[in-house]
Symmetry: C2
Subunit: 409 residues, 2 copies
């Protein structure tokens, strides 16, 4: 495939030509100053001097949103490392810390993973970053560097994440507070019962920091059964009390996938009331929360790749269409309508929770787009075909699965 | 990547050179008359005149075995068709039958899917084929044609499968009997309780046909809960009584993934006693049987892609490494040892159940091999990297993900 140059014409206009819209129509997308200026039947007459980017009739979709990543843990770009940890969460926490010193810098590994994600069509990422008394803010500072280096390539939101616990790891709460002061976007948390053995203790600290910095919370809740439900319900109460409605996310929430119908309904209703969203990686070996039942209550469900080839998991490749497939496969979705719900979890829903302005395939929105060799959004999810072009603010940042953002292509 | 010719030298010897063995050693594999003649440290001195196939240091593994397919249902090669059926199994059965007349011939669609599977490294397939009073033996005859056309490319085992039920679709038992007489390899069955509403009725017929033709049985059991367990236990009793020990497979067996520990142990012990194996596609939205607990009892567990982009499922791409990944991901496997178990389910275990002679990466075995850009079998499963070469009986049948078997390459 020959590639026309994608740098904009003198008046800043470029055309993503000959693409299939989600409704099946073939169109040209006119882009100016990083925005979608027009979507027209092809051939557009706007191409007087506009730079033309050939779309080859591929399906165009808004950029994928990875709503739950751990960029600082990535081993991307390194030789294969067989999984080194034992079977428990605590073993993985300690193994990871022991290995850190022998790994290349976080900036290098995280940048490799960002490039990989972008090559699949991702244009926005929410990444948790480990903050603990060992590494202090060093991983966080590294991700701030990555956020700046990739500012024109991907929207990167950073969650200050207490991977070693809050009360269990003294000094962590001050570090979280400092990270928020230095530009972390969201406050993280982790299984208050299993890790800190103190539900109210961890939540007291988290909500105090969140209120002080006027920030949202995205808390990892792996805890199963009654503990997990208790944690979610406590979150719901505090969210309403602290006026954080709509700004709190439960990541994983496996307990919702195994709850009795009554317990599920009560908890989901409370989440809807508090505007609490759910982030999921598809469940893997844990119960997957029932996505449709949550969405029917108005609860946003969004997906993320979570651990991509790191000391926590050997799986993952950074492809958010694959993540949508995994969610759909585990949820029993088959129709194009249902597959489109899974796609929304990997795109629109994430964008709404990340608060991305001007997101979506419509005139006036940001030209954050990618093309994929599919006829419908359903096919894009089920089959995850090869990608054509990835655009960020109208600029080509990947072609044919190869990252090209730094070169400006 | 330039490709050297892979036709054999005058004395029939060729060398798959510079490949990584599963233990990490780099080696040359000498092939003669379709068999592995030697595995030597490279460079081998056997290359006097031997045709050299460059392996580029990629990992070499024995060909993948797809133990549960539905080649006749495939829509491979056709434009995307949004899933047309309703949410029930019976709706899918009826929708499929209604659509058949509008589709290209089974031979064409099935051949497309075989090529796709081979391009990923598959060298043996067990495919079920629909037999019912509507299509009679026409799908079966089509797969016999495909089996012959691809005889040098893939080992194809055909299961005579009563997709519309046995008692529920009068005439089916005679058709199954006829198919076995005409060269079907295995007898199929389907949910005797849910579909035929007559456990003993369907099993009476199946075991009578199996005994008459001295053939094994591979029965689809989706039925959940007590019905499913009752079906498996009935199978176990009859298998022992009919001396079919070691020749019966339960496909899916979702009930095993949701049984109480006691019920599971009783049923699994009975399966082990009767030598009944389990075929799984990874469970999707159903409970996945506990693979390790079954294997620990000596029960063979093998995987298959099942429905690949057909009127039953929009998912699947024919890649048995992806299937191993899905099994591993759902089972919570992380270590290379565990990932290798998942790989065995997609290769060795299937080969043992299909009865493939001379299977495996050892001198004297058939040169059914593929290369993959991974350092360990664990990486091959978790990451499913690009494939290099696929060899069937020492002949190149695919390169770089592209099928080349018919051209002889």
């Amino acid at each position: 495939m020959t590639a026309s140059s994608s740098s904009s014409s003198p008046d800043g206009t470029s055309v993503l030509a000959n693409v299939r819209l989600p409704d099946g129509d073939i169109a040209d997308i006119i882009m100016r100053d990083g925005l979608i200026a027009d979507i027209t039947a092809m051939p557009s007459d706007n191409d007087n001097g506009a730079t033309r980017i050939e779309g080859y009739g591929m399906l165009v979709l808004p950029g994928l949103v990875d709503g739950h990543m751990h960029l600082d843990k990535a081993l991307s770009g390194l030789p294969w490392m067989p999984h080194p940890a034992g079977p428990t969460r605590l073993s993985r926490i300690e193994t990871e810390k022991a290995l850190r010193a022998s790994l290349p810098p976080v900036t290098e590994r995280a940048s490799n993973l960002v490039r990989q994600c972008v090559s699949h069509g991702t244009t926005a990422i929410r990444s948790h970053v480990d903050i603990d008394p060992d590494n202090k803010l060093s991983h966080f500072h590294a991700l701030v560097e990555v956020r700046e280096a990739f500012a024109d390539i991907v929207d990167l939101q950073i969650v200050a994440f207490p991977q070693s616990g809050v009360l269990r790891a003294p000094g962590t709460s001050d570090l979280l507070d400092a990270a928020l002061g230095e530009g972390a976007d969201v406050l993280g948390g982790l299984d208050p019962i299993a890790i800190d053995n103190d539900l109210d203790g961890q939540l007291d600290i988290l909500f105090a920091i969140a209120e002080r910095h006027d920030t949202g919370i995205d808390i990892h809740l792996h805890d199963a059964g009654a503990d997990g439900l208790k944690e979610i319900n406590a979150l719901c109460e505090r969210t309403a009390a602290c006026d954080l409605t709509g700004r709190v996310t439960v990541s994983h929430g496996f307990c919702l996938g195994a709850a009795s119908p009554d317990a599920f309904a009560r908890t989901a209703d409370a989440m809807a009331e508090a505007g609490i969203s759910l982030a999921t990686h598809g469940g893997a070996s844990s119960p997957l929360p029932p996505v449709m039942a949550l969405r029917e209550r108005g609860i946003e469900v969004f997906t993320g790749n979570d651990n991509v080839r790191d000391t926590w998991s050997p799986f993952g490749n950074g492809d958010m269409l694959e993540r949508a497939m995994l969610l759909a496969w585990r949820s029993g979705y088959r129709t194009d309508d249902d597959l489109q719900v899974a796609l929304d979890c990997s795109s629109g829903a994430g964008a709404r929770i990340l608060g991305l302005e001007g997101y979506g395939l419509a005139v006036g929105n940001r030209a954050d787009l990618f093309t994929v060799d599919a006829e419908t959004p359903g096919e894009a999810v089920a089959q995850r075909p090869r990608r054509g072009i990835v655009l960020k603010g109208g600029r080509v940042v990947a072609r044919e699965g190869e990252f090209s953002g730094e070169s400006g292509d």
